[in-house]
């Protein structure tokens, strides 16, 4: 296993970040910006390095080394390209290989050795390898830069801007995965270092909404999912209700946690006049797996498509090859999330889902079948959601056997346990169904409070399916970059009338009333943060 420790990480949902780091960086940035644009950007880059170093000062050197190496490689690739020396491709390949070796060592060395030992019966040891925070994100960001440079898309080589592009604290640790071409022009704009109160107001509100998702929803879902998955990891056999509770709670936890981080990153960045790309667009509203991947972790999907799927051949060499490419992309995408076979399985499942989805689309096209009506969409949405829930079980479980145990529980193969008050119905059901029913309560393994759990899950599902997402709430004020090719807008027209009304009701405007509302909400969240244990973001581990 690789070792991760985020105990000292400066979390967005920590007091030290909100009351010390952010105000100092914010006021420092605009104060310096009045005198020098480049110095203000340097301040932001140094602050970002400090943000990273707060976790572990030793790895600042690694991050800086990676930046210098990739900047230098990019510069050489650019020079070679302009002089048409012919060595450009080798430069690119060498630089990418170097990046992969770095990532491979820190993230996959132990995984590789473990598997090798298992297969060959050896007992090789390489000791503990500490996984540097955000290494997957900053490595991928820089690989994209190298490829863009090779493709002639990179026009600017300011080292300060480049350092800021990689280290920029809102995205450094858990994304979004950025493109050089979408960030550099923003850093170069003269008015970036001049305070824009509208951006500050929108950014602050988006940050508060993200914080609310994390503190009010994701953490309470985690309090339900964690004891269930932990109990299963130590050999417990979850029954029907407990398995579903665990799987659904984790499904909601991951979405609210990761999208909360992305919202907070978008909000923070906007306060510095820099727009980040949208990373989540209500993914659980998707009615197909293809659509799901256009809405979930959109910047990673974009990366995998542009730098893996398309270079592998994409759909250019026939359907069979396309499916192989899809599967390879998703398997590697799974492995990117973590060095473990459960992640590979998760990626493989999604690769399989995508293959089925594409085959179904082809069949529909061939047969001339239409898209169906509302009920058909509802069914497609439910099936997509179910498929995603099943895949998250592998993503969360510590091993295959744990995942299988939960999936078996979800189809009642481990039996059903109900509260004693249902005793009178048990005889009826056991006669009619070949299921073992016991009276040890709904959650005998984890002792999670079922009523509260159910209520929280229903609320979570309602928020997911019927409410607008954070970026929709502030969409009039363009909080994100909107030039993403795959952006699937969910506008007023595509919603049901009730959803449209809800969106209008929740829409953000810079009024005093809304300012007061968001201010009170912000304080309530701070009060919750004080009373709960500090909770890190799930995607920090990837």
């Amino acid at each position: 296993m690789f070792i991760t420790s985020h105990k000292h990480c400066m979390l967005f949902n920590s007091y030290v970040f909100i009351f010390a780091f952010l105000p100092v960086v914010f006021f420092g940035f605009y104060a310096i910006g009045r005198y020098s644009h480049n110095l203000a950007l340097l301040w932001l880059a140094l602050a970002s390095l400090f943000f990273y170093g707060w976790w572990d000062i030793r790895f600042v050197g690694l991050l800086l080394g990676s930046i210098i190496f990739n900047y230098g490689s990019g510069y050489l690739i650019g020079q070679s390209l302009s002089k048409s020396t012919g060595s450009t491709k080798w430069l690119l390949v060498s630089a990418i290989v170097a990046n992969m070796i770095l990532l491979g060592y820190f993230k996959y060395a132990n995984f590789f050795i473990e598997n090798l030992n298992h297969l060959a019966g050896t007992a090789l040891l390489i000791g503990e390898v500490f996984l540097p925070l955000g290494i997957s994100f900053f490595t991928f960001t820089q690989i994209a830069f190298l490829v863009d440079t090779y493709q002639g898309k990179v026009k600017e080589y300011s080292f300060i801007h480049y350092t800021l592009f990689v280290t920029y604290f809102p995205h450094l640790i858990a994304g979004p995965v950025l493109h050089h071409k979408e960030m550099m022009p923003q850093f170069a704009k003269p008015d970036t270092c001049l305070i824009n109160l509208e951006n500050v107001a929108v950014g602050l509100s988006v940050f508060v909404l993200g914080l609310a998702k994390k503190v009010l929803i994701a953490d309470s879902m985690g309090d339900m999912a964690t004891p269930i998955f932990d109990a299963v990891s130590t050999g417990g056999q979850p029954m029907l209700f407990e398995s579903w509770l665990g799987a659904l709670a984790y499904t909601l936890q991951l979405y609210f946690d990761f999208s909360a981080y992305s919202d907070m990153a978008i909000g923070l960045s906007l306060m510095f006049n820099v727009r980040l790309p949208l990373n989540f667009n209500s993914p659980y509203k998707a009615t197909s797996i293809i659509e799901f991947w256009r809405r979930w972790h959109m910047t990673l999907s974009r990366f995998l498509r542009d730098y893996l799927y398309i270079p592998l051949g994409g759909s250019r060499h026939g359907k069979g090859r396309r499916y192989v490419n899809l599967m390879a992309t998703m398997l590697l995408g799974g492995l990117w999330h973590g060095a473990g076979w459960t992640f590979v399985m998760w990626g493989g499942l999604h690769g399989f889902y995508l293959m089925i989805n594409h085959a179904w689309r082809n069949l529909k096209q061939k047969m001339g079948w239409g898209d169906g009506g509302r009920w058909s969409n509802l069914g497609a949405g439910a099936l997509t959601f179910l498929a995603v829930v099943v895949s998250w079980v592998f993503f969360r479980a510590d091993s295959f056997s744990s995942a299988i145990s939960i999936l078996q529980g979800m189809v009642a193969m481990n039996g059903v346990s109900v509260h004693q008050s249902f005793a009178k119905y048990v005889a009826v059901f056991t006669q009619k169904l070949p299921i073992e029913i016991s009276l040890e309560g709904f959650t005998p393994l984890s002792l999670v409070k079922i009523h509260l759990g159910m209520l929280q899950i229903i609320i979570g599902l309602c928020l997911v399916f019927f409410f607008p997402n954070v970026c929709q709430i502030v969409q009039r004020f363009r909080p994100t970059l909107e030039d993403m090719e795959d952006f699937v807008p969910i506008n007023f027209e595509s919603n049901l009338p009730a959803q449209t009304k809800l969106l209008r009701l929740m829409e953000w405007y810079p009024t005093k009333l809304q300012g007061a509302f968001y201010g009170v909400l912000f304080f309530i969240l701070l009060a919750y943060m004080a009373s709960a244990s500090k909770s890190e973001f799930l995607y920090f581990q990837f």
Binding site: V200, L204, P510, L513, Q514, F522, F523
Partner: protein
């Protein structure tokens, strides 16, 4: 911009209002474990009944409450033994405060603490906060200003909501909170205890205790989960060690001998080597704190002897554990061979 002004002004106003409300409602009868408060009142009284006599008090969390048959031990040892097992949700300093308020010169105190008590995490958690607001008002009074400040900051908005509702109900409809309110009246609790009829099935209730403080009706085995790692605890946090050393010192000055005991463990596949190495390390660190009267190896029980959690023995398990306890008391306490190294 007006929006930003409104944002910060409202946040500050909310902050002032919030903490003022917390301070005003600090003893609101919120939903909490009132039975633990009642149990403390009762157990203090049970100890007082034996005032002036030399006695053994075994204190700790709920593993002691469920794991010791003090009535049986009293008969076997021919001296009063009292079960002062409370609740693992109480902080260690609180357990020590409560027990030291009733213990007398000539008594023997055995502390059987659950593994988390030896950890460094001694901060208040939400359960502690709820109990202190609901019934443990003495704990609030005994805090200094910085502790009070920390305590108030731990009141979550959900709890404040419960405090508001409880205070309104207390004023407008006290009958709806009669269970909570009566549990705060010590004399009423004692008279109810004297007139109690034991429940027919198990209940977490202060009225489900015998006159030695043992909980009743713990027949059967319902626990399905995993037990504590038998190698744990293997380390004593410095802060906890300091607290225990100072407590043992104070008790010594009072003429009370303090000993320590292990808790029961569920038999698992963990090898005895793991258990022994964890225990050895723990004993080495513990040698400057006090004397541990038993071995973990003697307190490993089959799963069938556990009642509803990995810390709670059932009636049969309790008898086995009490036999081991009696043996350890005879060998190490009554014989005077287990000398406090401190």
């Amino acid at each position: 911009m007006k929006y930003i002004q409104a944002f910060f002004v409202s946040a500050i106003l909310a902050c002032v209002t919030y903490y003022s409300a917390v301070l005003i409602l600090i003893d609101a009868p919120v939903p909490a474990e009132y039975w633990v408060g009642e149990m403390i009142t009762i157990k203090k009284e049970l100890v007082k009944k034996h005032a002036g006599k030399s006695k053994i008090i075994i204190a700790g969390g709920s593993s002691t409450l469920f794991g010791i048959d003090a009535e049986y031990a009293s008969k076997s040892l021919d001296m009063p033994v009292l079960n002062f097992g409370l609740h693992a949700g109480l902080r260690l300093e609180r357990i020590l405060q409560i027990v030291s308020s009733v213990i007398e010169q000539g008594d023997v105190l055995v502390l059987a603490l659950e593994p988390p008590y030896y950890d460094c995490n001694t901060q208040l958690n939400s359960g502690h906060v709820t109990n202190i607001i609901g019934w443990d008002h003495d704990a609030w009074k005994e805090m200094n200003y910085s502790e009070k400040l920390e305590f108030v900051s731990l009141v979550s908005p959900t709890l404040l909501g419960q405090m508001v509702v409880a205070e309104i109900l207390k004023k407008l409809h006290p009958a709806s909170l009669s269970d909570r309110l009566t549990s705060l009246d010590g004399s009423l609790v004692l008279s109810r205890f004297r007139a109690r009829t034991l429940p027919s099935t198990f209940e977490y209730s202060a009225y489900n205790l015998n006159s030695h403080g043992d909980i009743q009706r713990t027949e059967g085995s319902r626990f399905k989960g995993q037990g504590y790692d038998m190698g744990s605890p293997s380390h004593v946090c410095d802060k906890t060690a300091d607290m225990l050393i100072s407590f043992v010192d104070r008790m010594k000055k009072k003429g009370v001998l303090v000993y320590f005991a292990n808790i029961p463990y569920i038999a698992s596949e963990v090898g005895l080597d793991t258990l022994r190495s964890g225990e050895l390390n723990f004993r080495n660190e513990f040698s400057h704190i006090g004397c541990i009267i038993d071995n973990r190896e003697d307190l490993i029980f089959d799963r069938k002897y556990f009642f509803n959690t990995d810390l709670h023995l059932n009636t049969e398990g309790r008898t086995l554990r009490t036999d081991a306890f009696i043996k350890a008391i005879r060998k190490n306490v009554l014989s005077g061979t287990c000398v406090n190294a401190h």
